[in-house]
């Protein structure tokens, strides 16, 4: 595995490093490059999860419906003062939630799988580089590595993508179906 992945990183290195050589100012280039890398990870993740949601829409819908029904029944029992019914229905809602939670865990993997690969490439380039932290963050610790500089930039990438999605080819239709699903669930 290690050899195959090293070869893969060698192949993509020439492309990814271009984003890190835009201005010639080290720290600015690092942020621009990491932002571009984050955007690639966001787009790949969003594309995969859009396929996954289409594929499993019916199954997830059934799980959600069962969980919501049990939850609302539990609250109705609580309101009536039927504590045995409340406890039993709450337990059933908990079982239904467990099933949905772990199914959604699989879907989370669809969104997030590009992140470790991106961090793996960064490891080949930025392992051993520390970023000093300024006050007041320095009260907690002196410096962080590439991993913890990647995440805030990745989150920023997700926010930017969320605003761009309605106007992007393919993702605009995904956005529309997500909006429709949200409206249906209300």
């Amino acid at each position: 595995m290690v050899d195959a992945l090293n070869h893969f990183y060698f192949l993509i290195d020439g492309i990814l490093i271009v984003f890190y050589r835009v201005t010639g100012i080290t720290i600015v280039d690092y942020m621009i490059g990491t932002f571009c890398l984050s955007m690639i990870a966001v787009v790949l993740g969003e594309f995969t999860v859009s396929i996954a949601l289409k594929f499993n829409k019916k199954y997830i819908g059934q799980l959600s419906e069962r969980m919501n029904r049990k939850e609302s029944m539990a609250i109705a029992a609580y309101e009536k003062g039927d504590m045995d019914g409340y406890k039993a229905l709450n337990k059933q809602a908990s079982d239904a939630w467990g099933k949905k939670f772990f199914t959604m865990m699989g879907h989370s993997a669809a969104i997030l799988w590009p992140i470790p690969f991106a961090l793996g490439w960064m490891q080949t380039r930025f392992q051993g580089v520390d970023f000093e932290i300024s006050f007041p963050f320095s009260l907690v610790m002196d410096s962080v590595g590439y991993t913890f500089s990647f995440f805030p930039i990745y989150i920023l990438g997700r926010i930017v993508f969320a605003h761009m999605r309605p106007w992007l080819p393919y993702f605009s239709s995904v956005h529309k179906s997500l909006m429709e699903a949200a409206a249906d669930s209300k």
């Binding site: 609250i75 029992a77 019914g85 039993a88 229905l89 059933q92 805030p152």
Partner: protein, 380 residues
């Protein structure tokens, strides 16, 4: 108001990015390089051959688990997640410990280079946590959108989680040998197997039957309340003695001290073993604290996330634990594929048969790891 909040969030994000990155300074050597340099050189067991090809974490001669095996095991983990549930996390741990050969390799350094042995052990623990933490992140965001997160409860659980992870990281990082870790992991799985046996016993089944009858009796007499998600959850009163929350006109209360204690003990166990702890948070919050599932669902995902963030941050940033990123990536792809297959194939296996299969598996793994880790007894 919504736009104002977005801008405040963006400003905080920008500050978080720019302030820490004021200057970059190279570091001369990391802990792993030091540990490799300190290990005896040679081609034998427990030795490092500098001429050998680099494997896991870039260690010369280190294990290089096959891409296909790594992927297929992750598909199995994903399949379990989508059909059985929490047991997937345990199987992910089994993959890191046994299937990918990381545990066996770490063990060879028990006598010759204890530092490297403990460093690999920490790497296995943190790799398990990344898989759970990333998923809890997405789930928490989804529940947050549905107004299912109870900030007051999350706050007290989070404080408990912070104290616990600090204790675990400072108390155990770089100090736990692979055998000890394997033993504790096995003991945890063994306890889960015992709980599963109780659930399958006639006493457990009778209790379940009675609860089912109570639920059915109520369902037959009352109509459901419609969409309760619209209401969201509100915290009515904050205090260290009793905190009150409400939704859909109903009041619920919990003791913040209990939440803090629960967050502390569950996070401590989860951080030490390298699991999420969701399987403990849910029964704790529903059975001990008596809260409705509507509140518990999102908040337990948030509690797992808070615990994971503290634990991973403390292990990786404060203690410098390394992980092999591409392995996590391949595992996520496999888990995704497995969770696509699960709903389509799991329905052909009766639920009871699935429970028995995983009961036997949990019993075997628990016993095997406990015996091997604590007593050095190798079972089949």
């Amino acid at each position: 108001m919504k736009h104002k909040m977005t801008w405040v969030f963006l400003l905080i994000m920008a500050a978080a990015i720019i302030l820490p990155l004021l200057s970059a300074t190279p570091v001369m050597a990391d802990k792993l390089s030091d540990a490799i340099a300190a290990a005896p050189q040679g081609t034998g067991k427990g030795q490092i051959d500098p001429a050998a090809a680099k494997g896991f974490l870039g260690i010369p001669g280190g294990p290089s688990p096959g891409l296909v095996i790594c992927f297929l095991w992750a598909v199995w983990v994903g399949w379990i997640f989508s059909t059985v549930g929490a047991f997937g996390g345990i199987m992910a741990g089994v993959g890191h410990i046994t299937i990918y050969g990381l545990g066996a390799y770490a063990k060879t350094f028990k006598e010759t280079s204890p530092g490297l042995n403990k460093m690999m052990t920490d790497s296995i623990r943190v790799s398990n946590q990344w898989l759970v933490g990333l998923s809890a992140l997405v789930t928490s965001i989804n529940y947050g959108r549905q107004k299912r997160l109870v900030t007051s409860l999350g706050f007290f659980l989070g404080i408990g989680a912070l104290l616990a992870t600090l204790m675990v990281v400072y108390g155990t990082a770089g100090k736990v040998s692979f055998s000890q870790y394997q033993g504790y992991f096995g003991l945890c799985v063994f306890l889960i197997a015992m709980f599963m046996i109780y659930e399958m016993s006639s006493k457990g089944q009778a209790k379940k039957k009675a609860a089912k009858a109570a639920a059915k009796a109520f369902e037959d007499t009352v109509k459901s309340k419609g969409d309760i998600a619209e209401q969201g959850v509100k915290t009515l009163k904050w205090s260290f003695i009793k905190t009150e929350i409400s939704f859909f006109g109903q009041k619920f209360s919990f003791s913040p001290m209990w939440a803090l204690a629960g967050g502390f003990f569950i996070s401590a166990l989860a951080s030490f073993i390298g699991v999420g702890g969701g399987f403990l948070y849910v029964p704790f919050l529903t059975s001990v604290a008596g809260l409705p599932m509507f509140v518990v669902a999102g908040t337990s995902a948030l509690a797992v996330l808070i615990g994971m963030i503290f634990s991973i941050f403390n292990f990786m940033v404060i203690k410098g634990v390394l992980i092999y990123w591409p392995m996590i990536g391949i595992e996520l792809v496999g888990i995704f594929v497995g969770s696509m297959i699960g709903p389509r194939t799991g329905k052909y296996i009766p639920e009871k048969a699935l429970k028995w299969i995983f009961l036997v598996l949990a019993f075997y793994i628990g016993l095997r790891y406990t015996m091997r880790g604590f007593f050095g007894i190798a079972m089949l």
